[in-house]
């Protein structure tokens, strides 16, 4: 019988993932070339563009390190090739890790380690299909309505002088997600609560440290450090509460 390990170590999966990433890279390069040339046509200087490119590269490194931390955690659940694919395209660090943490439970395993050992190829197929199909929802809005959404902002700004409601609304979705998750994590399991509070305390600590002279760079690592610290603390909390 084909196992999950057979699939996640499949050369075919690796080849297709590399093919997909090459396409995405080519798509990005075409976008970059078109946008760059158009910026020059609009009177933006090469120096300004050079600064934007340098700044974007530097700006991307730090959040990418957080994504790498997520990648290593995802690898333990989904294998390196599928985790690499999910976080390189479409996927988001937070949602992919959220989903990876519940996959084992959904498939009827006590832990992701048990799933990795015992899951069949068909069961992992369920995970692959769900993760691939689930992310389509955003595109059901973006593809048919993307142009209209962009135009509608221009129109409303032009006609009403600009409403600030869209600024509020754009944050509400994220706040609701937090407001649903946090009480569940805090009040249903002691270890989960302790891990979350540890992560929060580390985030506050790093934030305070970052205010000291010469340590402002720490601001870029608050999420990565607190996430790592929370994960490591789980070992102690499991011993205490487990």
């Amino acid at each position: 019988m084909v196992t999950m390990k057979d699939i996640i170590q499949s050369p075919l999966l690796l080849a297709l993932v590399i093919g997909g990433l090459l396409y995405i890279s080519a798509f990005s390069l075409v976008y970059l070339k078109k946008a760059y040339d158009h910026c020059l046509e609009l009177g933006i200087t090469r120096k300004e563009l050079s600064n934007v490119i340098k700044s974007s590269l530097v700006f991307s490194v730090v959040p990418s390190l957080s994504i790498v931390v997520g990648l290593f955690v995802l690898i333990a659940v989904l294998g390196s090739v599928w985790a690499w694919w999910r976080l390189s395209v479409i996927g988001s660090l937070s949602y992919e890790t959220m989903i990876s943490s519940s996959i084992a439970q959904v498939l009827g395993y006590a832990s992701s380690a048990e799933m990795l050992e015992a899951a069949t190829g068909r069961q992992f197929g369920v995970v692959m299909i769900l993760m691939s199909v689930g992310m389509l929802s955003g595109f059901l809005i973006l593809l048919p309505l993307g142009k209209k959404l962009c135009k509608s902002v221009d129109r409303s700004a032009a006609e009403s002088g600009g409403s600030t409601w869209k600024n509020v609304l754009s944050g509400v979705f994220m706040l609701v997600m937090f407001s649903v998750y946090i009480p569940i994590l805090l009040f249903t399991d002691n270890v989960q609560a302790a891990v979350m509070i540890t992560g929060l305390v580390i985030a506050i600590g790093v934030g305070v440290l970052a205010k000291r002279p010469g340590l402002a760079w720490l601001n870029n690592f608050v999420m990565a450090f607190s996430m790592l610290g929370g994960l490591i603390s789980s070992l102690a909390w499991v011993r205490i509460f487990g």
């Binding site: 158009h38 390190l65 992701s112 689930g134 509020v168």
Partner: protein
Amino acid sequence: MSNAKTETKMDSFQSWAHRWGRVGTLIALIYMVALPFVVLAAYDSIPSLGEVFNVNTFSILLIYIPVGFSEALSYTPILGCSAYLAFITGNIMNLKLPVAANAMNLTKKQPNTPEGEAIASVAVAVSSLMTVAILTLAAVCASFISPVFELPAVKTASGYLLPALFGSMALGLFASSSSGSKVVKGGIKGVLPVLIIMTVLSLAARLAGYGSVLGGLVGIFIIVMLPIGILTSYVLWKKGKIQVVDKEQK
């Protein structure tokens, strides 16, 4: 009126992006959806429709679906025509949006203008290439250090990623949220009813011995709670309890 018409007219890059960005995105989507089916077919492991879509797996879809809808509705107007590339390469909230905003700030261009969208597209494209490169390097290195992931400690810790992640991001919940050149002050007030309802539900479920069940119902809770959060936020925004100010005024 004529001004409004002028502002909604797109320039050549915006028109190109909305046409070819959409085509490129569609091709990528087809590839992404087909990929698992091709691999599973090669291993004769394609699951049945019932195995993929059932009560248990619905919870996974319920995490993706509302988030996908909300991201598309929330971020497309800010990203403009760079949205196609941003969505296809993912990590919007934690990477692409900040990078695009940073680029527009650097060049002092506004979102929803031809200049702002072009410069945002440059930034998003550069950021996408950078992330693919970094993740590729990490994935290659991961294959050399795979024994690390077999350690019991790593296996235990990986089970607590979700609370660790929320702990690290919770700090942002209590801060004023930034949206382009604006800052939303008091946004948390709009979701207080959601926080209270979920706290009561979580405590009740724990006391009844069903605490572990709630985790699988998160997607349903998000869909139910979204209208409550939006409505409360709207009322408080109308009353001036939630305010949007320029970053400089923060």
